[in-house]
Symmetry: C2
Subunit: 329 residues, 2 copies
Amino acid sequence: MSTHPSAPSPLRVALLGGGTVGGAVARALLGRADHYAQRAGRPVQLLGVAVRDTGRPREGIPTTLLTDDPRALAEGADVVVEVMGGSEPAGELIEAALRRGAQVVTANKQLVARRGEELHALAAEHGAGLHYEAAVMAAVPVMAVVRESLAGDEVTRIRGIVNGSTNYVLDLVGREGVPFADAVRQAGELGYLEADPTEDLQGLDAAAKIAILARTAWGVPAPLEEVEVTGIADLTDADFADAARQGGVLKLVASAERDTDGRVRASVRPLILPAEDPLAQARGGTNVVELEAALAGPVRLVGAGAGGDQTASAVLGDVVRAGLAAARR
Amino acid sequence: MSTHPSAPSPLRVALLGGGTVGGAVARALLGRADHYAQRAGRPVQLLGVAVRDTGRPREGIPTTLLTDDPRALAEGADVVVEVMGGSEPAGELIEAALRRGAQVVTANKQLVARRGEELHALAAEHGAGLHYEAAVMAAVPVMAVVRESLAGDEVTRIRGIVNGSTNYVLDLVGREGVPFADAVRQAGELGYLEADPTEDLQGLDAAAKIAILARTAWGVPAPLEEVEVTGIADLTDADFADAARQGGVLKLVASAERDTDGRVRASVRPLILPAEDPLAQARGGTNVVELEAALAGPVRLVGAGAGGDQTASAVLGDVVRAGLAAARR
């Protein structure tokens, strides 16, 4: 990058995935190079972007950076950013990077929720790093707050609206009186729900998030399969009428606390909240999480918990973090 | 501490100040030693607590730890925690610690707002650390979010209700129709205002916070004297009637953005906000800050922005952070 003898070597970043999130990450790294160099303490070099179809043009990414070989790309990197999603090959690529002692940044919620213990153990064994702020509520920085800001306190309870798609549906029914089935259809048409909306409607997306948060807050395993999950798929218009009669608001609430044995108890379920509950006030796709701590009391974080740019913001924050961690090794 | 040859040396902490915040910090460090050892990676040893009157008993602090010589106490510490407040001797004690290359944790908002540039320069020169999450909104982790979580994004605007005392007063008038002068008196009686309420009522407390936040967000000097400040002291009941007639809510809003030259423009002033503005909904002593970023969009943090335990929570988080930073040197 430079012929100056004391110039720091660049931080080499491999980006696995060139979709909405990957595209935004690439454009930021390429377009604001000075910013990232300053934050990471050395130039940040985007080695390449691994995509399935290198023939398809991608806005803001030079075609010379595209490759269809994620393995080869990741091998030369200090920081491997996984934003391809799915369990494989994402899982094996992350595993290989950790075994090499690299820093890994991922937005892959299901992967972290299912294999977090194992991946953290691998990272510890090989002096690698594993960062996944983007996996939980996108740019709402709940992971960092639980892990670092409240590190001197004692988190006693976590409670939140952590799935924007279902909140959008519930809000449409509760506030505007749209029949439930119509609201689900409308959310689908507006892109609030995936083509296969099961993850959202059955509460599985929220379950993965609360499992990750619980593990981070208490440093103990919080297996995804132990989260008690009830989604919103089986709600009926009568349930909403019930909530309204009580002056309450129906919300899909994810929560976690520890029982007296120190074991994590986590659940996702539709609850009727009093209208004045801060969680009841989450509108549309908004996410809100309330962290209750022994000294701090309740601290709430609110924002868009999804979206390409929002997820990219969290990924880029973790790239800076990973860069600083790599420099310390 | 241990005769095991490979046991890590303890992290030596000097606590300057044994008031409400200092007492809570001391009790936590002494009562949850295992927790802090685990978080900091080595035992955390509270060397002592410097107070003005060593004869006065302090709940949960053994009298053997009390000293009236903060200088001597600080000299032997890896981490110097300053929670005595005021400009001197706090300032010179912090300066001396930074010159020794120590990690400093402080909750001293006015000191950081006035001397932040100089203290950061000193810290950089001597490889020291300066941490002050507690100086802005207590346990609401806005400093870490601005500095780290949004490090990969671009903060475009900061806007918040950052002074709980004035918000308590404004809320009492706006919601309950208490005459302004009575509300100020009532807030004083309930301990929401200091004996000398000037800092709060004139907006100086909020000005110090927004100056610190702006400096952190944009890495450029944001001198306290350049913050445009109007407090609430000169408001009249007619102003509140005006706000109500417009369907709005009168709030003391601190905000900061950069102008086209990259210069920070920060202000504190009473504004009539639309009722649906998230800042308008802050009740009583609650603080809320909205960080607007290019990719993340608006992210809001909400919580108690003051209080002994809440401030202690932030101080303790910084002690862990400082401990990890000390280990890296």
